[in-house]
């Protein structure tokens, strides 16, 4: 029997970004023995990279803002595919979650009368994003981290979780992983598990995501029997850096546009006026004059088109570059230098100033930035019950980017940090209640534990084989070329074949060196999840024969009414067991996809959408 150590808790939270921390704080506050397990050091999770702000209808800048308008903006931004109940809870509870952060020590920027300042962002009717310059994610994670430490929550850092463990009844009862520093295996028993493992962006070549975003949480939940929904909806943030190549994809906050930055093509045209969709025409300015008045006085004109939802702006930039009107390095120009004073820019956007100065040698107070779309966020994820965040796998709860539903087909900027807080807390409540009702974790399956360990170390016993870095590189290349911002049926079919081949290669990975802090091994154990989520996205994209939100099909360029009433749900089929998956996981060939109707909005919420139009 392979060796491993065992810990026993009531609630285990996988992932220590905003959602995981918030969930752990909540479960701990209810008296449960709670631990966080995370792949990196505490405080380094991807939340730290969020820049612009957290969306909450506090009404500090525009008193007429309220949850109903936020709900409406979120649903419209998501092209009505959102889980309406999640969108409702999110809009209603975000203000309390933000104020709570302040009680835990967060220091947001202030309005003139001393309240939390809010900034404009794409798709939000009112200035709604509470922020700290352009480093809001850092403030959020540090506040939650310090609260978690003060509350005495145990944190197991640099543990890579491989699989969820289930008892004889199939109830999730723990996780197995390994310590990255030592390479030793560890099992955490739990009465309930919260999955808060973040996103999937590292499967694309150009992404704003850190190395951690390999879809572990999506894949592990799927393997344990949870449904995934809406996986075809991947958000390409309109503004990533395009040069130098080594930082291509690095995020340029939407706050630049919220604070007055505009987009121009190589002809100097402010091209976004040419791309205003009918759905947003009534509320978008149709001249530069009108748009420019809006920044200072929202009643003097309609919103600038640079602040359309992200999917619209990303597609427009893509079209400009394709039409030959791009910048020298294949992006477009984002100009704040000619619009705001140097002092203003440095104060409002300090990390953007720093980032361009140090990495690209560009002074953004004097010159425009070159930007283009970058893989940023997955709207789809583990299907959850809105109120409890319970997944369709008993004992498993999910919150944050790993959960699907809230954002529908496209997420509005700022709605991610509020998502983490609102549903992180709800996951903590849901898991705590489930754990309290359970007498103890069920007995774990020693066979499953042993098989997981054996499969994880298998690459060390192969003398010759594939290099995991080559496989990752080829996967990123496949997803970027064939399942990127603009998709087409033949390319998606091609991607399916390439993913099959990559799975076969991943089964032949050979490793050298020991298990101690071995990044080659760490990457090899990430590949199973990367391949699985890539397959889910590809299958969803093949089935959604229309263009909507973060999913654009060249061969089906319009939204199709009936498709707007469907989710695509990915599951593991028992029949697909013929092929071998990576590291003992189910093969990606066993992923199935089924359409399911989108639940109808109740009348009172439907009215909100209509009346606010």
């Amino acid at each position: 029997m392979p060796e491993y150590e065992t810990y026993d808790f009531d609630v285990i939270v996988v992932g220590a970004g905003g959602a995981g921390l918030r969930a752990a704080i909540e479960a701990r506050s209810r008296g449960l023995r709670t631990a966080l397990v995370c792949k990196s050091l505490l405080g380094k999770a991807h939340t730290v990279m969020a820049e612009g702000g957290v969306a909450a209808a506090l009404g500090n800048v525009h008193p007429e803002d309220n949850w109903k308008v936020h709900f409406r903006d979120t649903m419209r931004g998501g092209k009505m595919l959102n889980n309406w109940r999640m969108a409702q809870l999110h809009a209603q509870e975000a203000p309390d979650r933000v104020r709570e952060l302040e009680e835990w020590g967060a220091l947001f920027d202030r309005t003139g009368d001393g309240l939390i300042l809010q900034r404009d962002f794409g798709g939000h009717r009112f200035a709604r994003l509470a922020h700290i310059g352009d480093r809001t994610g850092l403030e959020l994670i540090r506040t939650l981290q310090q609260k978690a430490v003060a509350d005495g929550i145990e944190v197991f850092m640099e543990v890579k979780v491989l699989r969820l463990l289930q008892d004889a009844d199939g109830v999730v009862s723990g996780v197995i992983g390994y310590w990255r520093p030592s390479g030793e295996f560890v099992v955490f028993k739990a009465k309930a598990v919260v999955m808060a493992a973040g996103g999937v962006g590292k499967s694309w070549m150009y992404t704003s995501n850190s190395w951690e975003s390999t879809g572990d949480g999506h894949a592990m939940s799927l393997w344990a029997g949870a449904d995934l929904i809406d996986m075809e909806f991947v958000q390409f943030h309109p503004t990533g850096m395009v040069w130098p190549l080594s930082v291509r994809g690095l995020l340029v906050t939407e706050g630049v546009r919220g604070d007055g930055g505009i987009l121009r093509n190589s002809d100097g045209d402010r091209f976004m006026f040419d791309y205003i969709p009918s759905m947003f025409a009534a509320e978008t300015a149709d001249s530069e004059d009108e748009a420019d008045k809006w920044y200072d006085d929202h009643s003097a004109g309609r919103r600038p088109p640079e602040l359309l939802p992200r999917d619209e702006v990303a597609r427009s930039i893509n079209s400009e570059v394709k039409a030959g009107r791009g910048s020298p390095h294949g992006g477009v120009f984002l100009d704040i230098a000619s619009r705001r004073t140097a002092e203003d820019i440095r104060r409002r956007l300090p990390s953007m100033y720093h980032q361009f100065k140090e990495l690209a040698g560009v002074d953004i107070t004097a010159k425009p930035m070159e930007v283009g779309p970058t893989c940023h966020y997955i709207m789809g994820g583990v299907r959850v019950d809105a109120d409890s965040t319970a997944t369709t796998a008993a004992g498993l709860f999910a919150a944050g980017e790993v959960a699907g539903g809230l954002h529908g087909a496209n997420r509005l900027g700022g709605n991610s940090l509020s998502d983490l807080l609102v549903f992180g807390r709800r996951a903590g409540v849901g898991a705590a209640e489930f754990a309290s009702d359970r007498s103890g974790p069920g007995s774990l399956d020693e066979g499953q534990i042993g098989a997981t360990i054996d499969a994880a170390v298998a690459p060390f016993s192969r003398e010759k084989g594939e290099n995991p870095y080559d496989i990752q590189h080829d996967l990123q290349d496949t997803m970027q070329r064939l399942v990127g911002i603009i998709r087409t049926g033949s390319e998606l079919d091609e991607a399916v074949g390439q993913l099959d081949a990559l799975e076969d290669r991943a089964n032949r990975v050979a490793l050298s060196g020991g298990r101690r802090y071995n990044p080659g091994w760490n990457l090899a154990t990430d590949l199973a999840a990367m391949l699985t989520v890539s397959r889910c996205t590809t299958l969803g994209a093949i089935n959604r024969k229309e263009s909507r939100g973060g999913h654009t099909r060249d061969d089906f360029p319009k939204a199709v009414g009936e498709m707007g009433g469907l989710h695509f749900v990915e599951r593991i089929s028992a029949q697909g067991a013929g092929a071998e998956g990576v590291g003992g996981t189910p093969s990606i060939r066993s992923v199935t996809v089924d359409p399911e109707p989108v639940p109808a909005l109740p009348d009172d919420l439907n009215e909100l959408l209509e009346e606010a139009n």
Binding site: A45, V48, E102, R135, S246, G520
Partner: protein, 311 residues
Amino acid sequence: MAEDPVGTGGTDEVTMRLWRGDETGGSFTDYVMPSQEGEVVLDVIHRVQATQAPDLACRWNCKAGKCGSCSAEINGRPALMCMTRMDSLPVGEAVTVAPMRAFPILRDLVTDVSYNYEVAKRIPPFAPRAKTADEEKVGGYRMQQIDVERSQEFRKCIECFLCQDVCHVIRDHEENKTAFAGPRFFARAAELEMHPLDVNDRRQLLQQEQGLGKCNITKCCTEVCPEHIKITDNAIIPLKERVVDASYDPVAWLGRKILKRNKRSPAEAAATSPATGPAAVQPRTETNGIPAPEPATAAAAAPGAGDPSPG
């Protein structure tokens, strides 16, 4: 392919001299790589991993200067690998990358930074004052921008621990770690002390258990801070003044009484800290599960000899 990230193109070469080893010892190994335009040190390390040394240990996350994971000593100077451009280093010379020297080696470029997480537990946490009637009504605290900016400077900290690495109080004196919080946590304490809402009082603790007096303001920490936080001038020196005021200044004491600045007593503050105890920190515990080498072994294993000190 123009964007080949594993790098085979380019005519010029660069030699990366990387420390390989673990707590039992190690040495520098040279890797010759093709140069590519616009790269940072971390990019080249990634190419070394992808093409020559897949097991080369290197801790990193965001590659954007926002998470503070990839701290190392580049040509002897503590810096983030992701924010050090290759074209900022001398052309034609090998680029030396060593792990941070103040912490025990885990493997290659990765160190055990758990000391910092232990110190963090000893800082009495944020404790806000009660809301006023007006604040209860509006639902949130009122603070002026100018008042939050002082603490905001310290909250820019990305916890890269380069300031801890370069601080000679612990860099050269392992034994001081038991009673020294270090620049990162003086900045944290300053942030809380200057927080407009906080009522905890950490001054006596700083003086008696966290070694504030050991800092002799050489400003090495400020020099290496990638966030350009003025740790010495804006955090440590004001803290030293506050500690002195708390201990010796009767006028300040009277002022506090008159102005009703209701700081909690140091004993109360310490009691709210999640990890209380006489020593500031218990060094090298195994509570986080990372196997910790004995201090003596670690000191011997650190790539110190011949490694230029940046202090």
